[in-house]
């Protein structure tokens, strides 16, 4: 496994939003390929469940809320200066369906904070503290929402994901001199708790699945495998890209 360019052996990867859904799948699948994981999330109990499923020794968890002012300090403190990061996966996300007439300043600011601003601030902090290696790989879990499509009630989510895409590209350009690569994986609908909360009803969900050429929503692991490619040396010349993984949804 160590010889494969897709191996993550010897790499230390920070994953936000690792307590559930896509973030948890990224933690578990990356660890299976040899990565040591620092799992970030809000819920300590669910983080512990993630950590228990991570097979690599030396992996750890850090509890932090991206809406709190001290989140950068907390997460950065969980990264050892002797062992700077080889990769980061930004999987923490917020998605509350709101028709445009109901969007308040507070809802907009919170979603923008979690989905776009927090990743930027965290990269800043980790760079300043020399905790992100030369040659590291940063992966945003973005979405087809915003960059490819919009849907009713998803204005805030789409706007924040577009913002994340733009930040991803800007970081890719500005950090290229350090050989740091920055990319985004843009999933269609994936079977997660966040998606379940966003769905209006079971009947609508079933209807939505039919609109996917592959006739189903994605599984968290199917997004994690794309993230692993971007984290690995196999993607050494890939930066600033949005990798769409959507069961063919945006073909239509």
């Amino acid at each position: 496994m160590g010889d494969s360019p897709f191996s993550l052996a010897g790499k230390t990867i920070l994953i936000t939003g690792a307590s559930s859904g896509i973030g948890r799948a990224c933690a578990i699948e990356s660890a299976k390929l040899g990565a040591k994981i620092i799992a970030g999330g809000r819920d300590e109990e669910r983080l512990a469940e993630t950590l228990a499923a991570v097979p690599t020794e030396g992996s750890s968890a850090v509890s932090a809320d991206l809406l709190e002012p001290d989140f950068c300090k907390k997460i950065s403190a969980a990264v050892s200066a002797d062992e700077p990061l080889d990769g980061i996966v930004f999987s923490a996300g917020m998605n509350r369906l709101l028709p445009v007439g109901f969007i308040g300043e507070k809802e907009f600011a919170a979603a923008m904070r979690v989905n776009a601003e927090a990743p930027l601030m965290l990269v800043q902090t980790l760079l300043r503290e020399k905790k992100l290696k030369r040659g590291a790989s940063v992966v945003f879990i973005s979405s087809i929402s915003g960059g490819n499509v919009v849907s009713p009630g998803a204005a805030v989510y789409s706007a924040t994901k577009s913002a994340a895409d733009a930040l991803m590209k800007s970081l890719a350009l500005e950090l290229a001199s350090k050989q740091i690569r920055v990319n985004a994986v843009c999933p269609g609908a994936v079977e997660t708790k966040m998606n379940a909360l966003a769905a209006v009803s079971e009947a609508q969900k079933a209807e939505a699945e039919k609109r996917y050429p592959l006739k189903r929503f994605g599984k968290p692991e199917e997004i994690a495998y794309a993230v692993i490619y971007l984290l690995s040396d196999a993607a050494a010349w890939t930066t600033g890209t949005r990798l769409v993984i959507d069961g063919g949804f945006t073909l239509l």
């Binding site: 028709p99 009630g153 209006v200 079971e202």
Partner: protein
């Protein structure tokens, strides 16, 4: 929370139907302006204005505004 109070809060979502036409017997999903976006707006409005949590499944399951009101009352408990 009473029925009149409920109607007062949700009436603005139905732009083509006068509030007086919104009764307990109204089959609201058959109104001309009904869309999935109004369904979503209902969920948010009921939460913001009446402190009740309902889901799309509650809307699926209730044909009239009277039936929906019963679920809104339950959602506020």
């Amino acid at each position: 929370m009473n029925f009149e109070n409920f109607i007062e809060k949700i009436a603005p979502l139905f732009e083509e139907t006068p509030p007086s036409a919104l009764t307990a017997q109204t089959h609201y999903k058959e109104l001309p302006e009904w869309t999935s976006l109004i369904a979503l707006s209902l969920i948010v409005q009921v939460f913001n204005e009446l402190g009740s949590t309902i889901t799309g499944d509650d809307i699926e399951a209730s044909a009239t505004l009277g039936e929906l009101f019963e679920r809104v009352k339950k959602g506020a408990e």
